[in-house]
């Protein structure tokens, strides 16, 4: 067994450890990406509205 395979296996606890970390990573990422996307959306809509008003 090489060191990397040992690391991934976590002495048999691999599935528990990695699934916990994967879920956490996705949720944390979601909490930052979601407001970022919402902000982009808002800025885009506002820009369109402003252009319409200028015309």
């Amino acid at each position: 067994m090489n060191a990397l395979a040992d690391f991934i296996a976590m002495g048999g606890h691999g599935p528990y450890v990695w699934s916990a970390y994967a879920i956490t990573f996705v949720v944390l990422l979601l909490n930052v990406v979601q407001p970022w996307l919402a902000r982009r959306q808002l800025v885009k809509e506002e820009a369109r509205r402003l252009r319409r008003e200028v015309r």
Partner: protein, 247 residues
């Protein structure tokens, strides 16, 4: 004492400007703390002599549980400030922090369940700590639902503030649940008054990920609050000018 800062804090524009300057620093801190803490915790911290490698879940479980509870206390504080001083920004903070707190509670519950399987032999027990954390999740759901169900902004702010303040009773119950009842859950890892119950090379990465989670919470909260401020102040001149920069 000079109270002008307090009034400034109530000003959405002031908040928007200063939070824009802070945000990158918190983002950098989040990435550094979490990267170092997680790699250290997963790859370099020694194995637990009883739990083996499954204990490495602690490096995300404990920080998430910490932030979940601190966030709720923050909601109650924001609710009080909103009710007493009618500060509008307090309501923005309350509404924006609630979903993050709910997600953190979710992480704590799910990682705890996954950790429970190899350690206790079960994903879930109706243990005092687990049950009180589940109640915390429902309190968050209640606050989010209440905030969205009432269309009048001032009424919604008052109602959610009251619920946040009443629900804070659950926080000491969560904290002391491991002492008051016989539970499967292990006692607190961090104690202010005592030396840590684990060796330094296990404890330091935990400290890093706890700080990292708080930094990430701040980043997410500031991003959401800035967005909400822009939405609420849409008609004001400064928001128009801010938007024209991007147009």
């Amino acid at each position: 004492m000079n109270w002008t800062f307090f009034y400034k804090l109530g000003s959405p524009k002031w908040f928007y400007d200063i939070s824009g300057r802070w945000l990158p620093w918190f983002a950098v801190a989040t990435v550094l703390l979490l990267a170092v803490g997680v790699v250290w915790g997963l790859a370099f911290a020694p194995e637990d002599y009883q739990q083996g490698n499954s204990f490495r879940i602690i490096y995300i479980h404990v920080p998430a549980a910490f932030v979940a509870q601190s966030c709720y206390v923050m909601l109650a504080v924001a609710g009080t400030i909103g009710l007493v001083w009618r500060m509008k920004l307090a309501d923005v903070a309350l509404q924006c922090a609630a979903p993050i707190g709910a997600w953190m509670t979710f992480i704590a519950l799910v990682t705890g369940a996954i950790w429970g399987k190899p350690t206790w032999g079960t994903y879930w027990v109706w243990d005092a700590r687990l049950t009180s954390m589940l109640i915390l999740l429902f309190l968050y759901f209640g606050i989010i639902a209440l905030g969205q169900a009432i269309s009048n902004r001032d009424t919604a702010a008052k109602a959610t503030a009251v619920l946040a303040i009443v629900g804070v009773i659950n926080i000491p119950i969560i904290k002391y649940s491991v002492d008051w009842w016989n539970t499967l859950h292990q006692p607190a890892t961090f104690k202010v008054t005592a030396k840590p119950a684990m060796p330094m090379e296990m404890w330091l990465p935990l400290l890093l990920t706890v700080l990292g989670f708080y930094a990430l919470f701040t980043v997410s909260l500031l991003m959401r609050m800035r967005l909400e401020v822009l939405r609420r102040e849409q008609r004001t001149r400064w928001v128009r000018e801010e938007m024209e920069k991007h147009a």
